[in-house]
Symmetry: C2
Subunit: 222 residues, 2 copies
């Protein structure tokens, strides 16, 4: 370890959300491993991410290798790929914190909430990875393209998980990405944020906005 | 008609949410009928609601009579009572706009999202009332006790409905109650706001807040 900060794997790190989060977490000094289906694509994505002076550069790896080498595993993949990619990383995440960001969008009607029979993509992830893996969910409602810029983002991040300590760890990752994370209850509550993404997509269309978000009002956070 | 404003029935108008909305809608000059299981209880609730000078006073009626006499029907009842009360008003709401506020909270775990198999309480309401009734849903995330005061409330109201015109009408009712209503897509999307209420209940506990709410950021509304 060349850093006291947790090494984070960004699974699906070649996508817009993964790239945006990777940029911000690298800037905050987290050692990063970008995961993708192939090492080549992962490396191409990794070299595009700047690292602060004195910090190790992000590197690329297969999703499985990235998950295996990291302490915290951030899953940023589309709903249609979630099951397959979780199967790839499952052998490598026992006991680790997995932050799932999957929103169950079903094209073409992505502005219509279509939650899975299990209740939420987060519950699907927990079921697929098994009880030995500490799953939390977060980052459902932030526009990926806003993460790619250095500007402040007017959006809170609801963090769901059955273990408050795991939520707290995830909230620190959220803070490293420059956002306010909020304890939003058990994994079952992830349905709220996942469905809200469809609401926000519709709001972007209706109000000609380029990245509506949410804020929780009436609370004091440090 | 002594007013150009729509007459609104507040079904379940003796509860905290109903009373809060009734106060604000009466203050905005809407003729109001407070509905309850019994006329006596409805009348007791109605006399507690002030009306502006020159406006007719809110009156009380059974839920069925209130729904029958109104142009817009606002349903503010607990999840456990929703089915029975919708059955009471069904014969009286054909072709009318029904604004359902039901949140499917299942005690004792009200801070855990427990959406019904139908997807949302709003979809349950539409199914129960039948296709001839124009159902929208709203007011899921605002703290009832804040509606009882005259102070501004830092919370947006997500409005769901399959017909944009019906949503627009509901948004005008929201504005009359002193809040910003937002087009949040089809009735299926109501799952987002309904689940979010459990999230907010948990946030109130976690952060010792007395009425957390939500704001949609990044949009311009008139």
């Amino acid at each position: 370890m060349t850093s006291h900060k947790a090494t984070i794997a960004v699974i699906g790190g070649t996508g817009a959300l993964g790239q945006g989060l990777a940029r911000r977490l690298a800037a905050a000094g987290h050692p990063l491993i970008i995961g993708s289906r192939t090492v080549e694509k992962a490396r191409e994505a990794a070299v595009r991410i700047p690292a602060p002076a004195g910090c190790e550069r992000p590197r690329g790896a297969t999703n499985a290798d990235a998950a295996g080498a990291a302490q915290i595993v951030l899953v940023t993949v589309p709903w249609g790929s979630q099951a397959g990619i979780l199967d790839e990383i499952r052998p490598h995440v026992a006991g680790k914190l997995v932050i799932d960001t999957t929103v169950p969008l079903v094209p073409p009607k992505v502005a219509r909430a279509q939650l899975p029979p299990e209740g939420s993509a987060a519950l699907v992830a927990q079921k697929r990875l098994g009880e030995g893996v500490r799953v939390v969910s977060a980052f459902h409602n932030v526009a990926a393209h806003k993460l790619q810029k250095d500007e402040p983002i007017d959006c809170d991040i609801l963090v769901f998980g059955d273990d408050p300590q795991d939520r707290e760890t995830a909230i620190r990752v959220v803070a490293a990405a420059g956002l306010r994370g909020i304890h939003a209850g058990p994994l079952a509550n992830s349905a709220a944020a996942e469905a809200l993404t469809s609401v926000l997509i519709g709001i972007n269309r209706n109000y000609k906005a380029d990245g509506a978000g949410i804020r929780i009002t009436g609370i004091a956070t440090s």
